[in-house]
Symmetry: C2
Subunit: 163 residues, 2 copies
DNA sequence: GATGAAAGGACTAAACC
DNA sequence: GGTTTAGTCCTTTCATC
């Protein structure tokens, strides 16, 4: 699939289904999107080759693995390479984002308990100032994303421009 | 699998493999963890039934879908139900965490461009104060998580206690 | 892109250790 | 709890429309 090729309605439905259940068989996926099995298999292959689909992963319940606390740590300005190295040495870090603004980094971590949280936060406190927020409730997680409906996003502006 | 049942080395390897590639066949998974196909299939079934594995999802390249910007929005104190309702009405919101601390919410969003970012942030600005950080670089994402190695986390403490 | 056929591989259930 | 076997289903590839 060329990069300039638009995703059509079939592709969008395929992406929606696979973000909901990555273990669907091609036969079942074909039934759901109303395509034959060879057709849907070829579309998935192209979506993978084009880099639209970047992978398939099982999601786990961190609580059941023994992680009692999830937290977000905001990390202030610090030497880039040192932060990256520290992140790589921190298996408790699930996601790490280099961001704009007052904080330079926002990390998402999973830890066993408060003592463990203290240990991880302390590693980053040594570099620069940090602010830790414990996640009370993930109100929304892993929302499946589809191509944006541009017209629904900015209808007043477009109407004015097109007038 | 009972909740009090410990995950053994086989389960840990299965979790590692499926977090890396959720579309592995049971036959291939069995080869990788050195178990027969029926054995590994039964273990995966039990991990799913126990809620350790919560799902399987395809991951997509948001840039290729047309989302040029990802951002984190920190949202201050506001009426819980109003925030939840607003999140539900925001398809750009990928993750939303209710957290402790000065900010009450941290949202992760994907938007097309700056105008779109403005539109989404404005929706939440109306409720309370917000702070937006654009993601420059996701240095680490979706780190596969395994049961914590407790001894590696707090070795000095354990040694003292056990002495 | 759909359909149909054929070969190889994967899944399920059973018997057994 | 694991393995092996046998039967069924799925997947892949090909050809054809």
């Amino acid at each position: 699939m060329a990069l300039n090729t638009e995703l059509d309605a079939h592709d969008t439905r395929i992406l929606a289904e696979l973000q909901g259940d990555a273990r669907l068989t091609m036969a079942e996926l074909g039934r759901r999107v109303h395509l034959s099995q060879p057709a849907v298999t070829e579309r998935v292959r192209k979506l993978e080759a084009a880099g639209v689909i970047t992978g398939y992963r099982a999601t786990v319940d961190l609580t059941k693995l023994g992680y009692g606390i999830r937290a977000l740590i905001r990390v202030g300005r610090a030497e880039y390479a040192r932060v990256v190295k520290l992140i790589q040495q921190t298996p408790e870090c699930i996601n790490a984002y280099n961001v704009t603004g007052e904080d330079s980094w926002i990390l998402e971590i999973a830890v066993i308990d408060v003592a463990h949280l203290d240990a991880v936060v302390t590693k980053f406190c040594i570099l620069t100032e940090t602010a830790t927020s414990i996640i009370l409730n993930p109100a929304r997680e892993h929302q499946p994303m589809l191509p944006p409906q541009r017209d629904s996003v900015r209808p007043p502006i477009r109407k004015v421009i097109n007038a």
